[in-house]
Symmetry: C2
Subunit: 186 residues, 2 copies
DNA sequence: ACCTGAACACCGTTCAAGT
DNA sequence: ACCTGAACACCGTTCAAGT
């Protein structure tokens, strides 16, 4: 614990401080609410300072999305490691829970705008995460490509629709139970 | 056909002209590329002029999304009217095709940012469109809520993943056939 | 090596003023 | 009634200058 709350940033690891603050702002406000100037203000630094560590706003967003894919892959591996009876369904539920618990980060990970920027780090992180998924699933079930894609579509769609509030969860209804029912057995 | 290409706007239906130009820009550039000032320039009018017809940029986007939901509902009704042998699958395919053919409009229709604005017109248009869907499906198959939600999730997820280029369509592979395979029989 | 201050070229939005 | 011109409070980004 340092003596002054904002002292460490001025000469310490500004990059890390920016990423941590950005993750919090992203979580609360969404991507559109995450301005570079706001971020600099939040961290107590000049508007130009972030440019020492990130080429552009897109580069900062990319870094966030990359950590998102890493967390995502780690979460999926953790479930697989528990050797669930129905691995596909367990992973499907985890996929949806991850999306709900990291709503704005999940959206950023799949943001078409960011993808259009063509940043290589994002594609690499996404590919690595899905490679991990394929590895886990492939070792267990020889589902075939079509079945795998169908399962992915179902799970991803459920995540997005819940995230966007399109699927109305009824009063007194358990979201977790609803997800389990919809996923059924993949 | 008027004598001068940009003459009608100066005293005609600017609102309509803005919407038409906006739809084209949205289609090409995506929501982020659709600036009010750009739009005004494209239509040959001052930067302040659009405010006579739309409260804000969000109001303009809402109007676009609303026409998107209307087109969507009309498209779905058109398929249902052909009395396909497997109505659910036929509608599922149409849902995905609509998303692919109207990529940026579809994204705008489900934009969380726009939804967060809480504009009532958007919710009404979306509700009306899904009510139409429910009506078509409900009359045909008494699927039950869970099955209906599962089908929706699968179709919506497939649309989003294809739109975002996450599902790799292989060289020489027919996208249409791949969609049909993944949807299978709903 | 890392950060600041001031500037540049933009935004969305408002408002008095024009026709 | 509808549109313009000029302004306001912002952005992201750059760059010389400071330490």
């Amino acid at each position: 614990m340092s003596t002054l709350a904002n002292a460490p940033y001025h000469h310490g690891n500004l990059r890390q401080a920016l990423l941590e603050a950005a993750l919090i702002i992203l979580d609360r406000e969404g991507e559109a609410g995450l301005g570079l100037r706001d971020l600099a203000r939040a961290v107590g630094v000049s508007a130009a300072a972030p440019y020492r560590h990130f080429d552009s706003r897109a580069a900062l967003l990319e870094a966030l999305a990359v950590t998102g894919f890493q967390r995502f892959a780690a979460t999926m591996e953790a479930v697989a490691a528990t050797n669930p009876v129905d691995p596909m369904s367990a992973m499907g539920k985890t996929y949806v829970f991850f999306a709900l618990e990291n709503a704005n980060l999940f959206r950023l990970m799949f943001s078409p705008q960011l993808k259009k920027e063509g940043r290589p780090g994002l594609k690499m992180a996404a590919d690595a995460a899905f490679e991990t998924l394929r590895h886990i699933v492939g070792g267990d079930i020889r589902a075939g490509r079509i079945k795998a894609l169908a399962a992915w579509a179902k799970v991803h769609g459920l995540a997005i629709l819940l995230l966007d509030g399109q699927i109305a969860v009824r009063a007194g209804e358990d979201t977790e139970a609803l997800i389990a029912e919809i996923i059924g057995s993949l």
